[in-house]
Every structure is written in structure tokens, then in C-alpha cells.
């Protein structure tokens, strides 16, 4: 392990993962990962972390929540009775 060299490669791990590096640079990162156990472990942790984010689950929307929106907005007053809960920051894009 060569600390400065490892630091250099570790600073490129995100770009390497996302496929943003030029081919030659990506190849040098790949070679280093083959040779350095510590960096391989570190890169593995990054990949695992991204895997955790990708795997974030969410419950399905409760059907009653959808029904309430439709019933309220398509009612006779067209949603006029809904409280204006929009925050000032919720501007039209």
C-alpha cells in the first residue's frame, strides 16, 4: 500500500463507478484495484453503499389517499374547499 497513491485513486472512485473517467485513467484505477487490497475493500464499500441507496424501498400509496384527491378535486366545488397547503417554495417549475 502506498498512501499518497491510494489517496489519489480513492479520490476517483465515484467517477470510476459512474463511468466518467477517460479509458486510460479508468484502466489505471482498475489496475490499482487489482493490486491493492485496501483500496479494493474501500471501493467495495462504495459499491455496497450505492447498492443500499438503490435498494431503498417505499410502501405503495394507500388507495384511500388517491381516492380522497380525486373525490375532493372533482367534487362540485372543484377543490375550492381544500386548504391551500402549498408552501411558498413549491413554485411551478
Amino acid at each position: 500500500m502506498n498512501a499518497p497513491l491510494c489517496d489519489h485513486f480513492r479520490s476517483r472512485f465515484d467517477e470510476y463507478h459512474d463511468g466518467l473517467l477517460a479509458a486510460a485513467v479508468a484502466e489505471s484505477v482498475k489496475s490499482h484495484l487489482t493490486a491493492c487490497d485496501r483500496c479494493r475493500e474501500e471501493y467495495g464499500l462504495l459499491v455496497s453503499c450505492i447498492g443500499v441507496i438503490r435498494g431503498l424501498d417505499a410502501p405503495p400509496v394507500p388507495p384511500r389517499a388517491l381516492r380522497r384527491i380525486v373525490d375532493t378535486l372533482s367534487g362540485p366545488d372543484g377543490g375550492a374547499t381544500l386548504p391551500d397547503r402549498l408552501d411558498p417554495g413549491l413554485e411551478t417549475p
Binding site: 380522497r68 377543490g79 417554495g89
Partner: protein
């Protein structure tokens, strides 16, 4: 959530009941789940869902001619959640506990269940500590699979800034999760 193209060419002051019902059926679950991932709270996700469709209803003249309803919704949901998270942070509040779930196989033993619960709590804490826009960039890029350019449009950031936000968020989350990812948690 992909930013696809789905023009709804029905101009008018408000959508018809039929159009509204179709939009809610088509996009409601996606809106709710994105809001949940960003806020980690079922109650907040329901509030955002209602706000977003109210916004859509009131902005129908503009939305009905929009080339990209998915993109419009993603942007409105994300910004609503960022506002909500900022407000939550300023009040020192946190999301309801045990509301975050990962896609994982059911636990096979009590010990394993405990480990998974600890991991989920640590993950929730890690996400809660991120600044709202950084967290949104992470979720939109790494979970929703949007391109940096698309995330930039939603968050009003350059592509480079989006990548910096994502890399920084990954670094922070990784730091907190490392003992668990290595399997040597206390």
C-alpha cells in the same frame, strides 16, 4: 422514475374528472413513493402527494401543455420535499421512526432482524443528516437513475454541482454505514 415524455393535450382551466382520475391512477403511486424516499415518512409523503395534485389541478393550463409530465411531477415533488425537510430541520424534528425500508429478504432469525433494524436506523440517521438538496441529488441520481443533467434541471444546479452533491452524500452515508457494511458493527 424516468423523465419520460407524456403530453396531455387537454387545455382548460382545470382537468376533467376523468382526466384527473387517470393522472392520479397513473402517477399517484410514483409521486407518493418518491416523496416517501425523500421524506422517509408516510404522513409527509401523503401531504406531498395531496399538495402536488392540488398544484397540478390549479396549474392545469400550464401543465396540460407540458411536454414532460413526469419531469414536471418529479420537480414539484422534489421541491416540495426539500421545503418540508428544511422546515423539519429548522424545527429540529425527525421523520417517524422505522419508516424506512430496504429491498431485502425477510429476516430469518431474531438476531438477523435486530441487525437489520439497527442497519435501517443507521441508514435513516445517515440520510437525515444530509442537507436536503444533497439528499435529493443522491436519491434522484442513485435511486431514481436520473442523469446528472436531469437532476440539475430539477434542483437548478449544474451537472458538475450535481455530481459534487452526489459524491459528497455518498461519502457521508458510506462513512456512517461502513461498520455495518463491513459486518463489524458494535
Amino acid at each position: 422514475m424516468s423523465v419520460g415524455t407524456a403530453r396531455i393535450g387537454v387545455p382548460g382551466l382545470h382537468p376533467s374528472a376523468e382526466t384527473l382520475e387517470g393522472l392520479v391512477a397513473q402517477h399517484g403511486n410514483r409521486v407518493y413513493q418518491l416523496a416517501f424516499r425523500l421524506t422517509r415518512s408516510t404522513a409527509d409523503a401523503e401531504d406531498v402527494l395531496q399538495d402536488v395534485f392540488l398544484k397540478l389541478y390549479r396549474s392545469w393550463l400550464q401543465v396540460s401543455t407540458c411536454e414532460n409530465i413526469d419531469g414536471w411531477l418529479t420537480r414539484v415533488v422534489t421541491n416540495a420535499c426539500i421545503d418540508l425537510l428544511r422546515s423539519r430541520k429548522s424545527r429540529g424534528a425527525t421523520a417517524e421512526r422505522s419508516s424506512l425500508a430496504r429491498l431485502s429478504a425477510p429476516a430469518v432469525s431474531p438476531g438477523r432482524a435486530l441487525e437489520e433494524r439497527e442497519f435501517d436506523e443507521k441508514l435513516q440517521a445517515a440520510l437525515e443528516e444530509l442537507p436536503p438538496r444533497e439528499m435529493a441529488a443522491l436519491i434522484l441520481f442513485d435511486h431514481e437513475g436520473l442523469k446528472a443533467k436531469e437532476v440539475g434541471r430539477i434542483l437548478n444546479l449544474t451537472e458538475g454541482a450535481v455530481r459534487r452533491y452526489v459524491f459528497e452524500a455518498r461519502r457521508k452515508v458510506k462513512e456512517l454505514l461502513t461498520p455495518y457494511l463491513r459486518g463489524d458493527q458494535p
